[in-house]
């Protein structure tokens, strides 16, 4: 399952990332925020318009907004 399909609430672990779907600076920005292989995340909110874009995910004690296009590059497994 990719991250954009994760339901709101449950925690999941990022098990694979298709870096080719992400621009270099985006990938670097995500990694700097700790959104990387092995990270535990949960979806907290979805945007209102256009099919729930962007997404707000919680990682550690942080909330980070990102687009669905980024989430689509990440495979997650619910914990």
């Amino acid at each position: 399952m990719t991250l954009d399909h994760l339901p709101l609430g449950p925690r999941a672990r990022i098990v694979a990332i298709d870096w080719s779907l992400l621009a270099d600076d985006e990938a670097q920005r995500l990694r700097a925020l700790g959104i990387d292989l092995g990270a535990q995340v949960a979806l907290a909110h979805r945007g209102v318009f256009g099919g729930g874009d962007p997404l707000a995910l919680t990682i550690g004690r942080m909330t980070v907004a990102l687009r669905r296009s980024h989430a689509r590059a990440m495979q997650v497994e619910e914990i």
Binding site: A23, D25, E26, Q28, R29, L30, R31, A32, L33, G34, D36, A44, H45, R46, G47, V48, F49, G50, D53, P54, A56, G60, R61, M62, T63, V64, A65, L66, R67, S69, H70
Partner: protein, 618 residues
Amino acid sequence: MSNFRTAALVGNPNAGKSALFNALTGARQKIANYAGVTVERKSGRLVLPSGEPVELTDLPGSYGLDATSPDEEVTRKVVLGLFPGEAAPEVLVIVLDASNLEQHLVFALELIELGKPTVVALNMLDLAERDGLTIDPAALASELGVPVIPTVAVRRKGLAELTQAIAEAEARGPSPRGPHEFMAERRLTAQTIAGSAILSETSKHRLHARLDQVLLHPWMGPLILFALLFVVFQAVFAGATPFADALQGGVDWLGVQVRNIMPPSLFRDLLTDGILSGVGSVVVFLPQILILFFFILALEASGYMARAAFLMDRMMAGVGLSGRSFIPLLSSFACAIPGIMATRGITDPRDRLTTILIAPMMTCSARLPVYAVIIAAFIPARTVGPGIGLNLIGLQGLVLFVLYVSGILGAMVVAMVLRSSLTKGAASGFIMELPKYQMPRVKDLAIGLYQRAWIFMRRAGTIIFTVAVILWLLLNFPRAAPGESQVDASIAGHVANGLALVVEPIGFNRDIALALIPAMAAREVAVSSLATTYAIDAKGDDATAIALGSQLKAHWSLPTALAFLAWFVFAPQCLSTIAVTRRETNGWKWPGFMLLYLFALAYIFAGITYWSAVALGL
């Protein structure tokens, strides 16, 4: 005794660096730009217990030394001593958010690795306690090998201890630290260290998560955002009026005083008609700009601004921008200058440039006087009695609404075109930390407002002053022969003759051409210069508008008036906007482009409006 003179605050965004900086340096701050980039350089004087001053700089927030934005690039270069003309700070003060240790320690570890004299400020301890965290600063200090000082910047806690630690930092020398680690290892180390420093963690339900449940709620969220925007706009437009009127009164009073004191001379005219009225016409916007900035600063400090960006991101993505462009564009409805200044928060340079280029199309408050006069004169008040500005309902209000919407639509189309041509590039995406909610502090707001006001006044005092003088010279030289009109004899008069030929096809007469020249300083000047042209004694605003209205009706056709309105939707007639664009883009290339494309659009749409109106027999 220490013998260093520079120190820098460095840390993740949202670590409370600015509040700590304000608390340490007070209002004695210097704001400038780093050479060659539009990143704000904030520095101030910190006085050590010995009485010795230190220059403290507040480096832009960064997640690490691998830069992805111009801000982060500055932080990286300054910390490493690579920034030309900037001395590397001798002491690093790493600011950590105590309630987000795992994340903030990653950058801290990278900085400690550099081996510089370092002090850690464990900031926002109150927020950590609110989240149910108990942290042991001593354990953290022994793990990191550098002093850790608990601080609550907003309550001035731990400041003396932090200053003392900064004073002792250099004597203690470089911080010892293990071998270089890569990002992934550093993250693991950070988690281990955070784990051993956090003594206990109760699962208190966190306040910001509960607030987000409401503020980011699928339908309540946008509703609250729009209600908030409504309040902000009401405050900006209604709240500023008495202050703006008072300022205008002050400027007029000064003019009268100068006329009373000085004998009539060209120099007196320069003072009153050139400088006072020119600079005055811009200074009267100060109250609006301050009220707008008050809200922007307060919303930013509270953490809500990032939520507004989140809520609006999808809509902005439709034209190739991101949620980060929302606030600058919103500010531009009051005035494009603070709007363009606010684009510094946009990380992607192409997004930022696009936002700057379309910002002048948002209907700013300087257009309202122009719109109000023309609408009141030419559009029949079908539903209610003649009102001016926002009180309009019915046909007049509809026209005003159409003008606003035309600007927004124009901006959207231009953004789309630019994003697929000149500012083409992979969609920048939208990756943004949503910071914790906090109560904004009055002192930080006051410092921020003071700085904004100062920047604005300095600009009014330099650029706008110069322009006002030049315009006055153009209108007053060469001197007219007796019996001849001064305006016709002047350089501006001759330019207007040439300009009249250019604008004739779009239905503008020579009077309009003449009014457009001084209106380059600021749009609303068009009204006063039309009043001058039609020889109307400009006393009270309403009286002028009514008298001017009947004059306009006598001299202009309805298609001409409509074309004039369409012109002002696009025309970049605001030198301050051009000046601020030059500063924010570091050169004349983009302001030049902005002038060209906006004048082209203004010409085309005024023309289309004029010819359609003529064809419809209006």
